[in-house]
């Protein structure tokens, strides 16, 4: 592949491979400076679970395998649940393991929800695992994770 000679494109690529300052140039709202973001996500998970052991694999995280633009990565998170008064999903947490702030959103459902499904768009600072944790009405937790590769677009990947 022919390397782009245009200087601003080259320097974007260098910054993308680095960290911190360059990301501001790209317009991504994250600067990966200061505290190592990879430490924050475990604490975020612990805050949700406490001492509970979650059941793995029952949270469906639908996201692209490769996100072209880390500023807006679509997601649909769902749990197969009858959503009845006595058997339903109460909350779904989304945690991005390598974002400056791991907690992305907390979604609360009701007996009127019908489906435990929510879609939106999130920011991903770089390639990372996205974790979904569901709290059920019986107190159990479900969890899954999904790896999303983040390219900074531009040079054609």
């Amino acid at each position: 592949m022919r390397l782009a000679v245009h200087s601003s494109r080259l320097s974007r690529r260098d910054f993308a491979l680095g960290a911190g300052a360059g990301i501001a140039v790209l317009g991504l709202p994250f600067a990966v400076v200061g505290q190592d973001p990879s430490q924050g996500w475990e604490q975020a998970v612990k805050k949700v679970l406490g001492d509970a052991k979650p059941i793995e694999g029952k949270v469906l995280i639908d996201m692209p395998e490769i996100a072209e633009n880390g500023n807006t990565v679509p997601f649909t998170i769902s749990v197969d649940s009858p959503m009845s008064e006595t058997d339903r999903v109460k909350v779904i947490h989304i945690i991005a393991t390598a974002n400056p702030q791991p907690g992305v959103a907390v979604f609360r459902f009701s007996p009127l929800s019908g489906k435990a499904t929510v879609a939106g768009r999130m920011r991903l600072a770089r390639t990372q695992d996205v974790i979904g944790i569901a709290e059920l009405s019986d107190g159990r937790f479900l969890t899954s994770k999904r790896n999303v590769k983040v390219t900074i677009g531009g040079c054609g990947g």
Partner: protein
């Protein structure tokens, strides 16, 4: 704050599980970016979205800076009967945007 757009089905029957799509314009400033002088641009985001139907809570979202600008949110509701939705977005400054929309229930 700015404009919100809502998409509901044209009509629904009691018991249908319908999808509600919402979109609002907002920069969702994360607090991580720096301006041209190197000063940090302070965080300013919508941090809460709630949807009620006929006065009952349907869905709530607590949003953090990891949610993209112009937050799009889609969720579902099992139609209990006729009524009106009320959607509320609240930002860090406490400013609220409220939109109401009736659902046509056959």
């Amino acid at each position: 704050m700015a404009k919100a757009r809502i998409k509901l089905p044209d009509s629904a029957k009691v018991g249908d599980v319908i999808e509600v799509k919402t979109l609002i314009s907002h920069v969702m400033e994360t607090g991580q970016r720096k301006d041209a002088d190197g000063k940090t641009i302070p965080r300013s985001i919508i941090n809460l979205f709630t949807a009620t139907f006929a006065g009952a809570e349907v869905f709530t979202a607590e949003l953090h800076p990891g949610i993209s600008a112009n937050p799009y949110l889609s969720f579902f509701m099992k139609v209990p009967g006729p009524g009106e939705f009320e959607f509320t977005w609240v930002d860090d400054a406490g400013t609220k945007v409220v939109e109401k929309m009736k659902l046509n229930v056959a």
